[in-house]
């Protein structure tokens, strides 16, 4: 078998590596020709790890079609669990609470984080060190510590200090969800603007634009991809927030993850998997949007990876 024709399939090339030219301009061909046991081992290992990463997600997907009474015990295939979405008010309300608080917390965190990120990137100084220290502290503090700290404080504000707004379930969840997200948005916006030269803003100032105009017409559009990415990431972070939400929530406005957590004690039903599947699709849609936004802004895959793992 000779593989001199340029149309050779890559399969044939890998079977007869010596026959194909060692360094052609065709990159994948050359790569395959150099396969060694180490490469094969790495590939096999990676495939196994990807299977590991997807195992529980596939299990949840499959079990969301379990027409049984208990999630763990497979009974028969069916769409019964998905009906809970509109038939069970408790489930429906929990999802609605999650979406509502997620949206509000995302807008709030994006507002706070964008302004702070711009300040960090454009007006660095001694204060920035302190501020970054605070953000780091927010990021490394375990969620459970946030949770146990925030609950007595919100109770104090709502009852002892008479600020009845803090007795409201939505407000409490928004406060709890916004802390970590604010830090994340700040990191992302700062990282984007630091990478961009301040010359455009200087030019705008030289052309007699007032600071506010420069901010609105130059700085903000430059930061926009990061702002949008931050918004969507905050939204998904909020949908994911379980620990803080479980502590600060008020009965009557239970978000979806807390509903699942409390169901854990009484035996999980298949509808948990069904709603989780729907929520997963929602999250993935938001993340795909983030990727599209960043890609259109000219980010490479690596930059997108960095942004999406939290700056």
């Amino acid at each position: 078998m000779t593989t001199t024709a340029p149309e050779t399939t890559t399969d044939a090339a890998s079977r007869a590596p010596e026959a194909s030219a060692p360094r052609t301009t065709d990159a994948p061909l050359a790569r395959r020709a150099r396969r060694s046991p180490v490469d094969i081992g790495l590939t096999v290992w990676s495939v196994l790890v990807f299977l590991f990463l997807f195992a529980p997600i596939i299990v949840i997907l499959v079990y969301s079609f379990n027409n049984g009474r208990l999630l763990i015990a497979w009974n028969e295939f069916g769409f019964e669990p998905y009906r809970a979405l509109w038939e069970k008010p408790a489930v429906r309300d929990a999802v609605a609470v999650s979406l509502r608080t997620g949206a509000i917390a995302a807008v709030l965190a994006t507002l706070l984080g964008t302004l702070a990120g711009i300040a960090l990137a454009r007006k660095p100084g001694k204060w920035a060190l302190w501020f970054i220290g605070l953000l780091l502290l927010v990021s490394v503090t375990p969620e459970i510590v946030d949770a146990v700290a925030l609950l007595p404080w919100l109770v104090f504000l709502g009852q002892d200090a008479g600020l009845s707004i803090f007795n409201d379930g939505t407000v409490r969840l928004v406060v709890g969800h916004s802390l970590f997200s604010t830090a994340v948005v700040t990191y992302i916006v700062r990282a984007r603007l630091v990478g961009l030269d301040a010359q455009l803003e200087e030019a705008s100032a030289d052309l007699y634009a007032r600071p506010l105009t420069t901010f609105r017409r130059v700085t903000l559009p430059l930061a926009m991809p990061a702002v949008l990415a931050g918004l969507l990431l905050s939204f998904t972070l909020s949908l994911d927030n379980t620990v803080v939400a479980a502590f600060v929530q008020v009965s009557g406005s239970t978000p979806w993850p807390v509903y699942v957590l409390s169901a854990l004690r009484g035996g999980l039903r298949p509808e948990i998997a069904a709603v989780s599947t729907v929520m997963l699709l929602l999250t993935l849609a938001a993340l795909a949007l983030v990727a599209v936004v960043l890609k259109r802004a000219g980010d490479s895959a690596t930059q997108i990876a960095r942004t999406m793992s939290g700056g």
Partner: protein, 297 residues
């Protein structure tokens, strides 16, 4: 007509105020509570007499075991993530076709952004003694009886490795990707084989990414509450659960606060130790590399 002059950090004030009000103040209160005590059955905390007694109590043998257990899970889990994730990140950045890298990153992202609690429940289904994995292993004949992993420390370890693995793979990928093919090829052209290219070029240059990965995994892992709750049961206790139970079931905020403060201290000290250790280890390499570079220049 210059209107009022704002300080340079003016734009950061809203975020700063928000974080101070809802993070610094409440966490500061926890720090304060930790020096108090629990007055009687119905009180949660009192701070009229301040002492370090709650810290002594939190480190008494009953609870100390949970701290050691958490540290064990934290260190073992982080090292396992590194061992599992490093080859994958290297493969993604160096071996996988360049046009598929975006897709591969997306594939690492999907589990990371799936609801934390839900994916942990996925493992509960997989590891359950009456689950399909258990039956499969018995049918194939690998295990005699049903799988007895759920609600043990092993289950918690599997859970945390799973939950935090993407946080290891992504920074490692970024680090390996940044090294780029040029330096590897230069090393090869200078006669280095694959192993020494990896050990003396790729790996040292990727070290910052490794430190980031270790910290990104270790810090949230130590404070984990969900994984241990879903998969650990009574045997797999971690400090996060201990803090929660003091605030909820035991209604002892003083003791719970002391545990929370200790948890943060343990995380900060050991994270700093990880960073310092790796930095110290890298010093001799750096010195040697500098000599080599100068000699070749």
């Amino acid at each position: 007509m210059r209107s009022l002059r704002l300080p340079s950090f003016a734009l950061a004030i809203p975020a700063w105020a928000w974080l101070v009000t809802f993070f610094v103040v409440p966490v500061g209160a926890v720090l304060y509570f930790s020096f108090g005590y629990k007055p009687g059955i119905f009180g949660t905390h009192a701070t009229d007499v301040l002492s370090f007694d709650r810290y002594a109590e939190a480190l008494s043998p009953t609870f100390f075991e949970v701290f050691m257990n958490t540290l064990w899970v934290g260190i073992a889990g982080t090292l396992l993530c590194l061992a599992i994730g490093l080859p994958v990140a290297y493969w993604m950045a160096v071996k996988a076709p360049a046009n598929r890298r975006g897709l591969l990153i997306a594939l690492v992202m999907v589990p990371y952004w799936t609801n934390f609690l839900v994916r942990t429940i996925g493992w509960q289904i997989i590891l359950a003694p009456e689950g399909w994995m258990s039956q499969l292993l018995q049918t194939v004949g690998i295990t005699e009886g049903p799988l007895e992993i759920l609600y043990t420390r092993t289950a918690v370890l599997i859970g945390v490795v799973y939950n935090y693995l993407p946080l290891m793979i992504l920074p490692l990928y970024v680090a390996f990707d940044r090294v780029g093919p040029a330096l590897r090829e230069a090393s090869k052209d200078l006669g280095a084989n694959r192993v020494s290219t990896f050990l003396r070029v790729t790996f040292p240059l990727a070290r910052p990414g490794i430190i980031v990965g270790l910290l990104l995994v270790y810090i949230p892992l130590m404070g984990d509450y969900i994984t241990a709750t879903v998969l650990g049961g009574a045997q797999g206790n971690m400090v996060g659960q201990l803090v929660a139970s003091q605030f909820q079931a035991a209604q002892n905020w003083a003791l719970g606060s002391a545990m929370a403060v200790l948890l943060i201290l343990v995380i900060m000290v050991s994270a700093a130790a990880i960073g310092l250790q790796l930095w110290l280890v890298s010093l001799p390499f750096r010195a040697r590399n500098r000599v080599v570079l100068e000699a070749s220049a």
